[in-house]
Symmetry: C2
Subunit: 207 residues, 2 copies
């Protein structure tokens, strides 16, 4: 059976990275899609593992050819999620997680249509988000303010997502995310393929 | 937050009773609705616990008053799920499980509209279902044949359900059922109530 395409977005500081790391230890059959980018590899980054590193001409050609589910330009570099890369995993029956922001999510909803579902992870409160961002101790007040402004903007898109997880505790958030992925695997629409297998089987067997 | 109304159907011999018993040990905030019936209480059955035992006049009056989400006549007795009983639990934030057959499920989908979701539990195969029904050792071949005929008919409604669980192993089926219930609790539509609480909060806090 074909895998599911799963969009996950969360404002910076929500704890998404921790949640996703834990998720991968709990659920089989889930993978990330490797993005394309025009930025240069950093030390230790591998082509095909961290990113597909391509030149600008290649990227723009792919973009013109409608080969991206979503793409963005950040600080002069292009980033994109290749349709072919995602389809390759889905066809193998793997669920593909797209860890993208609200703009990327809007694009994928348009390009993938109903063939995906989306999850928004929200911080439990403004105080908690502020605490988590300042608590890192690595960012300037200006950067923190920018992230908080961004968080407010992103929260306004939360209603467009199919599921909302409030990250009160990591354990609960991970369990909820796992539950959503498992539940989506048995949506009847996806499973209806399996029924004809069972039904004719039933009809032709003697007691 | 208001609870979810959850329809669960399964052909006889699918293992639904075992699955539901285990579910209740794993998930909080879920309850069964107590049905109304015109049949006489059996030894040990309590009014308001096992059933609401009512006379035929009361039942038919409630039916005329559109007070049932679904009702059926079985062997000359009436059985029904009262709307008020269900709403009382939902209003308290409890998820309400309706353990009903495919006919009942069709009725509830009509009367409750989009305000419910449904789960069909299927046996892994025809052989397995036959084994489970004959293995009980309590039923005549005629009864078993009747149950198998019924199972085939019920399986044809499986595509109308939102979720399909194939009961390969009880552990997995219980985990999947639990996952569906948890996932449905964070459908964005249900949670959108919570967002305005978070958003204005965000907008009025200084850094």
């Amino acid at each position: 059976m074909r895998g599911n395409l799963i969009i996950i977005s969360a404002p910076s500081g929500t704890g998404k990275t921790t949640i996703l790391k834990r998720l991968f230890t709990l659920v089989k059959g889930v993978t990330f899609s490797v993005s394309h980018t025009t930025r240069s590899p950093r030390s230790g980054e591998q082509h095909g593992v961290d990113y597909y590193f391509v030149d600008q001409q290649t990227f723009l050609g792919m973009r013109t050819g409608n080969e991206f589910l979503e793409w963005a330009e950040v600080h002069g570099n292009y980033y994109g999620t290749s349709r072919a890369e995602v389809n390759r995993h889905l066809a193998r029956g793997l669920d593909v997680l797209l860890d993208i922001d609200v703009q990327g999510a809007r694009q994928v909803r348009q390009t993938a249509g109903g063939d995906c579902f989306s999850i928004f992870i929200a911080p439990p409160s403004w105080e908690e988000l502020t605490l988590r961002l300042t608590g890192r101790g690595t960012d300037s007040p200006e950067t923190i303010r920018l992230r908080l402004d961004n968080a407010i903007k992103e929260m306004q898109d939360a209603g467009l997502y199919d599921y909302l997880i409030v990250n009160d505790t990591v354990d609960q958030a991970v369990d909820t995310l796992r539950s959503i992925i498992i539940a989506q695997r048995c949506r009847a629409r996806r499973n209806s393929d399996g029924l004809p297998l069972l039904l004719p089987d039933c009809e032709h067997r003697p007691l």
